[in-house]
């Protein structure tokens, strides 16, 4: 027995020496290249976080613009900068990210460094089934491994190789999605939907398509709206749990958190299904409003848009035209100046300063906000 213990001890010691050497080799020669490969925006995001005093964290809604109608292609975070010229606004845009991923990304925030205000966008669709089982999820989960402060570089690389993260493949995600549509009821103590599940609703649409009572051009659109907005959230939602962690962390490191609820295309949902779908959407927004109004500075822009303000006319997205992007920035800027930093002037069209960046200097247009 003693002999075996001696043998095992010797081998464990050698194994540890090998791991330490591998850690050193990897960290010194290869880690940076791997970060560039597997987490493309890591260094850019890190630099933005450390060089601003207001951090805007968003997904594609931040930078998408309408190529047909927009004369100005500023992102929401750029508009925010123009409304708050004395501040240094940093904008992080991670396409397809949601609260669960932002929670990992924001682990890079330090207590005594970087922004004092964090503006976090909340996209209601991201709390839905289609997003939760979206095809990019595994890739994103791998990406955010690199933001984790608890792992050494070699550990991160080993986790990448061994796929030690939520790594469902496309078929598994599709299966979960279909299963949830079939089994999750569209009802609670407040809401009673005509259709008990998304699956049933989709069948009904399918029947109408077959009978041609839905025009073909709207058939796919109707499917998409049901799949994207057909859900009811509750406090156990995994992404709201991630949001709660962000709130806690921001408190711990003295960052003021502004939670911004993005506008959704309620207009088209109403036109497609009457109040059947909008009652679910409204319920979800009310839930968020009630749940977070007291806990963070909340900016709710859910209702500020019209159907035609969206770049994507046949699929629900949060890609807005300049009017909405500017309105969003204005509302956030107001919240910052009223609630967070009373020393700032309350922004309006007069304080909007297109000269704040050279590239904005030729701004000529003026728009009256709602």
């Amino acid at each position: 027995m003693k002999e075996i213990v001696k043998k095992i001890t010797l081998r464990i010691v050698i194994f540890i020496v090998i791991l330490i050497s591998a850690e050193w080799l990897y960290q010194t020669f290869l880690f940076k290249e791997d970060v560039k490969l597997y987490c493309k925006n890591y260094f850019t995001n890190d630099s933005i976080i450390n060089n601003c005093n207001i951090l805007y964290v968003g997904e594609s809604s931040n930078t998408s613009f309408n190529p047909w109608s927009d004369s100005q292609n500023y992102s929401i975070s750029e508009y925010l900068q123009l409304f708050l010229p004395e501040q240094k606004v940093g904008g992080i845009t991670q396409h397809g990210y949601h609260l669960g991923l932002f929670e990992k990304l924001l682990q890079n925030l330090k207590k005594d460094k970087g922004p004092s205000v964090v503006v976090l966008t909340l996209n209601m669709r991201n709390l839905g089934i289609n997003s939760k089982f979206g095809g990019n999820e595994s890739h994103f989960q791998q990406e955010v491994l690199f933001y984790n402060q608890n792992y050494t570089p070699l550990m991160k690389r080993i986790f990448v190789s061994f796929h030690f993260y939520k790594n469902d493949n496309d078929l598994e995600l599709e299966r979960e999605k279909v299963k949830t549509w079939r089994t999750q009821y569209l009802a609670n103590s407040i809401i009673q939907s005509k259709y008990s599940t998304v699956r049933q609703w989709l069948n009904e649409v399918e029947r109408k398509k077959y009978e041609r009572s839905i025009p073909a051009v709207y058939g796919a659109m109707a499917d998409a709206y049901i799949k994207e907005f057909g859900f009811l959230i509750d406090e156990n939602d995994e992404r709201l749990i991630a949001l709660n962690k962000i709130i806690e962390r921001c408190k711990q490191i003295n960052k003021k958190l502004i939670l911004h609820i993005l506008p959704e295309n309620r207009d088209y949902a109403q036109q497609l299904f009457g109040s059947e779908l909008t009652q679910l959407m409204d319920y979800n927004i009310d839930f968020l409003q009630k749940e977070y109004n007291e806990r963070v500075e909340l900016v709710n822009n859910y209702l500020i848009s019209n159907g035609t303000d969206y770049t994507d006319q046949f699929y629900p997205t949060e890609h807005y035209n300049a009017r909405i992007r500017k309105a969003i920035a204005m509302s956030i800027a107001k919240k910052i100046s009223i609630k967070v930093n009373p020393n700032l002037p309350i922004p309006n069209n007069q304080t909007f300063n297109p000269d704040v960046k050279q590239k904005f200097a030729d701004s000529l247009w003026v728009y009256n906000f709602k």
Binding site: I4, K7, I14, F15, I18, L19, S21, A22, L25, Y26, L30, L37, Y38, S138, Q142, L154, R157, I158, V160, S161, F162, H163, N167, N169, L171, E172, E174, R175, V178, K179, R182, R199, N203
Partner: protein
């Protein structure tokens, strides 16, 4: 061990563990009935009941959607709770290893019917034989006689078993993580955009796939062998340097040996084998490879893969073997020919649709430059070179035995290299073991 095996399988999907338990209990019961049957007819009835229940399970979860395709029946079934549940289970996830454990179970029931094995009276022991976790999801497909006697013998922890098991598993991990996964990235890049690549890249891609699938499956088999050895269980070798085979018949004696011997014992020989003339032999060979294709997957391309192997087998058996030349160079040529035949037939194995193989064939034989080239990282080339040299020329025995020749410090230098390679250079994209889907 039974609990550990079911936990291992059920952790992934509880429904599928229940399914495995259900089929195991049926087979266990049928085997007992066969043993006690008063007449041959009764024994035959229980045998067919077991076979049909296994085939039904395979059909339901593996071939149902293939058979239904996108018919309106499929859509109607999806609207009912129970059938929708089954379709969801089968359509989006096939129970991992269902073909493996079903075949293992079938071999037991047939052996009991043939009176080659005594039936197991303890249902839990039989369930462990079916579900023994190291080889549950991708083989090797063990026979009852060999595995059962080992599983229920008294074992004590032995240093030799532990060290050998870890050596085998480490090598298996290296093959999977450093070679198969990295090659898979290259192959996937090619298959995702075949039109953009030229002739050279196409040859490179199918070459890479031949080694990807080998390293992947051989790697898994080694991991299974290594982890079983930790418990004192010695599983059979599933590969024996297949790329050194000089003919397709020899190749199938070296590749996925446990499946090849299964087909030989339960299909090839009962049908007539090579004892009833060339026509029966040809029929038996084609039947075996047709079944083998179907076993590999519910797709037309898999059946084509199987049949291609069958025809190549017959070509080698009846024509090529007639050429009698005793020459080292000729032997090398035969090895190369066999490898190229197999590599080309893998085009069907890897294809995602029935029209994909013809596109690749055109790319291979009609020279074109291509808009982009496949890029193979230097470290992947290095790993592949090491593997090829070891497998074809250097390692004459199983890895654990081969390593015994070296001194302690030499072995640990090799381990250090392998551990570092696994930690630092593993493929980043998720590629489950290729044979998990079967």
């Amino acid at each position: 061990m039974l609990l550990a095996s079911y936990f291992f399988y059920g952790y992934w999907k509880l429904e599928f563990a229940a399914l495995m338990a259900f089929t195991s209990i049926i087979d266990w019961g049928c085997a007992l009935q066969i043993h006690t049957a008063q007449s041959k007819q009764k024994a035959l009835f229980w045998l067919w009941l077991s076979i049909l229940s296994n085939v039904a399970m395979l059909f339901m979860f593996k071939y149902f959607n293939f058979a239904l395709g996108t018919t309106s029946i499929s859509q109607k079934l999806e609207n009912h709770q129970l059938t929708a549940w089954i379709i969801e289970l089968g359509k989006y996830t096939i129970p991992a290893g269902i073909s493996f454990y079903t075949f293992q179970s079938l071999s037991y029931i047939i052996d009991v019917y043939r009176k080659q094995e005594e039936p197991e009276r303890n249902v839990l022991k039989f369930m462990l034989f079916v579900s023994f976790f190291p080889q549950l999801v991708a083989g090797p497909i063990e026979r009852f006689g060999k595995l059962h006697s080992q599983l229920f013998a008294t074992h004590s922890a032995k240093w030799r078993n532990i060290s050998n098991g870890l050596r085998i598993a480490l090598y298996g991990l290296f093959l999977k993580i450093c070679i198969a996964d990295n090659l898979a990235n290259i192959v996937d890049t090619y298959y995702s955009n075949i039109q953009a690549f030229g002739t050279v890249s196409s040859w490179l891609a199918i070459f890479c796939f031949a080694f990807q699938v080998y390293a992947d499956f051989f790697g898994y088999s080694l991991l299974a062998q290594g982890s079983a050895l930790l418990f004192g269980i010695d599983l059979m070798d599933n590969f024996n340097k297949p790329y050194t085979a000089k003919s397709i018949p020899e190749f199938w004696h070296r590749w996925h040996i446990s499946l090849s011997t299964w087909f030989k014992d339960y299909i090839f020989v009962p049908v007539g084998g090579n004892k009833k003339g060339p026509l029966v032999l040809a029929f038996a060979v084609l039947l075996v490879f047709f079944t083998s294709g179907l076993w590999h997957g519910a797709a037309t391309t898999m059946i084509l893969f199987g049949l291609t192997q069958g025809f190549l087998y017959l070509f080698d058996r009846f024509l090529f073997s007639k050429i009698k030349i005793q020459n080292h160079l000729w032997d090398k040529f035969k090895q190369l020919k066999t490898f190229v035949f197999f590599m080309l037939s893998l085009i069907y194995f890897r294809a995602e649709s029935t029209d994909q193989p013809s596109k690749i064939w055109k790319k291979l034989w009609k020279f074109s430059a291509g808009e982009i080239d496949l890029n193979i990282p230097v470290y992947v080339v290095l790993f592949l070179l090491i593997f090829t040299l070891l497998d074809l020329y250097i390692m004459k025995d199983r890895v654990d035995i081969w390593l015994r020749k070296f001194q302690f410090w030499q072995r640990w230098l090799m381990y250090a290299f392998v551990i570092m390679a696994i930690c630092i250079f593993g493929g980043a994209t998720l590629h489950p073991f290729v044979y998990f889907q079967f």
